[in-house]
């Protein structure tokens, strides 16, 4: 049966559209996008989106789903459930599973599990190096053929500059982007939080901003050298924003993302030794937060991706230095990001671009637009719905969220993937 979404404000940055439109879906695709009332509702399932925003399905291009290997933290099914509940109809899964996704067989396994779950689309990222050990290149051609959409050694940054050079070159052969987790491990040393006033007071070893920035600089230089496609993950510092801004101004085709926690929290969240605020890169200062917002506003940062990193109490209910890095974000990302719209940092259309259109474009994926002929991946959003973060209601298996109890304004009311309603909440 065809599906008609009626009466909503359609925001589709891809076609520069922000108008009331009705949307007709047939056989998993968008077949018509017309001014209100022009598509007859008879014989169709009608969804009223009155007073709501109808956006291309949100895509989070940086998540950790933990399967295979750490299913006690998250599975592809629970992660996909968390995604659609947070308004994401597609997620891009980093390869640092156990084993690492460095071969076609594991890529296929991830896709099979995602298909079985039938919720969000899951796009696997293959490893830059075998086992993410930073020694030898993995099989990029086979990974791509199996369904990998990018390459990354996220969590195990590529230490060796020559390997990074070769990776950018070899990935170019197969037209795959490299997503770089920029961190100089030697400079990070034993650091567990941002190096600044708070780390000094808490006696916790610091991670200087330079540990990120020197690698952003290195990888940008290597992208220039090789012509490879570079995407910089989870930008957290003012310095990184500035380095990327200059590179783009110089005409280099690179892209970058940041995460909601880098524009919502500072290193003060660590006070009291809260391990849910332990994340890598670490929460930075108010000046960095301001620079991240400015970078999102002027387009230096192309995308918002939450770096959803589930951990159980085994990894988090321990001494701060012993705790794992990472926090979960799929179910708070949209609410935190909409604050940028409410605060006038971004327009709604700019936000949707950074959470849907741009990620799809960076990775060359379908979706990210509501143009007729596109897959019917749609997120219906109430930007003004106020709610309170309650981790006990999360679909994720894990609870490592530093936003517990926060009041947020705006959330997804419905997620539609391939024309199927995969999640509906509220009064839609």
């Amino acid at each position: 049966m065809s599906l008609l979404i009626q009466g909503g404000l359609v925001v589709d940055p891809g076609q520069d559209l922000e108008e009331p439109r009705d949307l007709l879906i047939e056989e998993g695709k968008i077949v018509a996008l017309e001014p209100p009332g022009q598509i007859p509702p008879e014989g169709r399932r009608v969804i009223s989106a009155q007073g709501l925003v109808v956006a291309p399905g949100l895509m989070d291009m940086h998540v950790h789903l933990r399967e295979p290997g750490e299913e006690y933290k998250e599975t592809i099914a629970t992660g996909a459930r968390a995604a659609v509940q947070g308004g994401f109809t597609a997620v891009v899964a980093m390869p640092n599973t156990r084993p690492v996704n460095d071969t076609a067989a594991i890529t296929r396994f991830i896709l099979d599990q995602a298909k079985a779950a039938g919720l969000a689309r899951v796009y696997p990222v293959g490893a830059v190096s075998v086992g993410s050990q930073g020694q030898t290149l993995s099989e990029y051609g086979d990974l791509k053929a199996a369904g990998a959409v990018a390459l990354s050694d996220d969590g195990h940054p590529v230490r060796h500059a020559l390997l990074m050079r070769r990776a950018l070159e070899y990935a170019r052969t197969f037209d795959l982007p490299i997503i770089s987790h920029c961190e100089d491990l030697d400079l990070r040393a034993d650091g567990v939080m941002h190096e600044g006033r708070i780390s000094l007071r808490l006696g916790l070893q610091g991670i200087p901003a330079a540990a990120e920035e020197v690698m952003v600089f290195r990888d940008i230089d290597l992208a220039r050298l090789t012509g490879g496609r570079l995407h910089i993950a989870h930008v957290s510092t003012a310095g990184s924003v500035e380095i990327i801004r200059r590179a783009k101004a110089g005409g280099l085709k690179i892209t970058a993302e940041t995460a909601p926690h880098y524009f919502s929290l500072t290193d003060e969240a660590v006070l009291g030794f809260d391990t849910n605020a332990k994340v890598n890169p670490p929460l930075r200062t108010a000046a960095d937060v301001a620079a991240i917002k400015a970078g999102l506003a002027d387009g230096t940062l192309d995308a918002i991706a939450c770096d959803h990193a589930p951990h159980s109490t085994l990894e988090k209910e321990v001494e701060f230095a012993a705790a794992a890095f990472g926090l979960i974000g799929l179910e708070t990302s949209l609410g935190l990001s909409l604050k940028l719209v409410h605060d006038g940092v971004l327009t709604l259309s700019q936000l949707i671009a950074r959470m849907s259109t741009h990620p799809a474009r960076i990775l060359g994926l379908p979706g990210g637009t509501l143009t007729p002929g596109s897959p019917a991946d749609i997120t219906i959003i109430d930007p003004n719905h106020t709610w309170q973060v309650d981790v006990s209601r999360f679909a994720s298996k894990s609870r490592n969220c530093p936003f517990q109890g926060w009041p947020l304004k705006g959330r997804a009311m419905m997620s539609i993937m391939g024309g199927e309603v995969v999640w509906a909440g509220g009064e839609v």
Binding site: F273, V318, F320, A321
Partner: protein
């Protein structure tokens, strides 16, 4: 003033009035240790557990003697860090100890924040006996008591703290302590050992030992942890000692009645020359004596505070 806390986790959380109360209590308890029979029944029937995840002789012994002089029962558990890694978690260990119903748990741990972690989870009081690079509150309190005895006051003093500030919980606690009590603190050391943003703690920062000790009322030397040698913080011990070792020449730059402190154990000939360590300005052994008094005071106030 009453002391109404369950735990003593750091100096940063304390108010000046609370610090004075602890020092006054310690001063009044000090006399007990000079008696032939060094024991009062105040904490009879109470139990104090010490849980040490780092090697320590003087701090652990000091707590144990303090508890015994107040007639508390003590139980000492030293956990080798290596066995802790493969063994039970800190939380499980603590709950097991708590099941034996102690009144206070004294913990030293290599992870900053470990005592705070326990304090949140345990009903019994927790005393931080040194956590990572963070704080060592009873050390700062015994240092304050020593300075107060020598100078008659804690305000308007110039205090120099010299050495590896970056890795020193003693330095952090003392910086908070002296500033709260109204004194001025200058820190000095090689730039590798002075973390960025130190000024934000309210101290003056210099790389010159001469400048730091000039006109100082109190000079506190920190122990150089020799393992820092392999971690790119230092060139050679010889050079460290040349530029940051305290010797008799420096005493001439300080106030005439300057006192020299050191939390121990000493690296003689590295951060402090034997002439200075053993000389008339040194109060290093008074620090040890006062350690017992201060820990008696803290045990008493926390257990008393719990009742109130």
């Amino acid at each position: 003033m009453e002391f109404r806390r369950k735990d003593l986790l750091g100096i940063e959380d304390l108010e000046a009035g609370e610090i004075s109360l602890i020092l006054d209590t310690a001063a009044s308890l000090k006399e007990i240790s000079t008696r032939p029979i060094k024991k009062v029944p105040t904490l009879r029937g109470r139990t104090v557990v010490t849980l040490f995840y780092e090697p320590s002789t003087r701090t652990r012994m000091s707590f144990e003697i303090a508890a015994k002089r107040l007639s508390a029962d003590t139980l000492n558990l030293t956990v080798a860090a290596s066995s802790a890694i493969k063994g039970e978690t800190l939380e499980d260990t603590a709950h097991n100890l708590e099941a034996m119903q102690p009144d206070l748990l004294v913990i030293r741990h290599p992870a900053s924040g470990a005592p705070h972690f326990l304090a949140k989870r345990l009903k019994c009081g927790v005393i931080n006996a040194g956590d990572g690079l963070h704080e060592h509150p009873t050390q700062a309190l015994l240092d304050l008591l020593t300075v107060r005895e020598a100078k008659g006051r804690l305000d308007d003093l110039k205090v120099a703290i010299i050495g590896d500030i970056a890795h020193s919980r003693v330095a952090r606690s003392n910086i908070h302590a002296f500033i709260k009590m109204g004194s001025r603190v200058t820190v000095a050391g090689p730039a590798t050992m002075l973390p960025p943003y130190l000024e934000s703690l309210g101290v003056k920062v210099t790389n010159s030992l001469d400048e730091a000790v000039a006109e100082a009322d109190v000079i506190m030397m920190l122990r150089l942890q020799l393992e820092r040698m392999g971690q790119m913080f230092l060139s050679t011990l010889r050079e460290y000692s040349t530029y940051f070792g305290l010797n008799t020449r420096h005493l001439a730059l300080a106030k005439e009645d300057v006192i020299i402190m050191h939390p121990g154990p000493l690296n003689r000939g590295v951060e402090i020359s034997p002439e200075v360590a053993d000389g008339p300005h040194s109060v290093i052994l008074e620090q040890v004596t006062n350690g017992v008094a201060v820990r008696m005071a803290v045990l008493l106030l926390l257990i008393g505070g719990e009742k109130g």
